[in-house]
Symmetry: C2
């Protein structure tokens, strides 16, 4: 029942954000622009995406702690403990990050996006149109 | 750069939907209620979620084709080919499904939800509050 799944990153984030303490908790809290650098062999999968599109980036928050089941939202000791499935904490069994962003530029298999709070080097798992 | 990540399912979908041809493409197109059956050891991670909450279920669409890079949206031959990252197709390099649902009942580590188009047995990767 719990056999691991093999997930291969489709790219990486290039960002000036280097460590978690300095990163905003959500993209709209002052996150910088960042590049999504996709594997060149996946270029065809980007066909149709245009500058100005709003997309959802799914990442693997590889600096999250996977053994944490409860947390206080926004690390605020005044908040009651919540199950991590009731929060957006990066600490969770499978630390998948979801980031709505706007496409600012496209250069081959590289894409510049707005306001991304993921750290430099974060693996990208998937990209979907934002509906 | 492309080392596999180890992702362990946190549970499974129990649904009357058994095959992809019969499943609606989106939950709001007539999908049935389904149970999310979480691993018992992760019960604490569900703390705080209540009946009536809207949540986002992330799944691993294990019957998707991972070698498809372009598709015609909704399998309609009248639609132009699009990169899979510009669609919600279950065929994509990492077939992660996103399903907004409403919690209808909670029984320990089992949760009944509305309108889920994922097939019976689909691995669950994560659960997040819908914002």
């Amino acid at each position: 029942m719990r056999a691991d799944l093999q997930i291969r990153p489709v790219g990486r984030v290039e960002s000036p954000l280097r460590d978690r303490a300095a990163a905003p908790k959500q993209g709209n809290e002052g996150a910088p622009e960042a590049w999504l650098v996709f594997e060149a062999e996946l270029l065809d999968a980007l066909h149709g995406i245009e500058v100005g599109d709003e997309v959802l980036v799914l990442t693997w928050l590889d600096r999250g702690r996977r053994d944490v089941l409860q947390t206080r939202p926004r690390d605020d000791p005044a908040n009651p403990l919540q199950g991590v499935f009731n929060t957006r904490s990066p600490d969770r069994p499978n630390p998948i990050g979801m980031h709505p962003v706007t496409v600012l530029a496209i250069e081959g298999s590289r894409m510049l996006v707005s306001e991304l709070e993921a750290l430099d080097g974060t693996p990208i798992l998937d990209l979907k149109p934002l509906i």
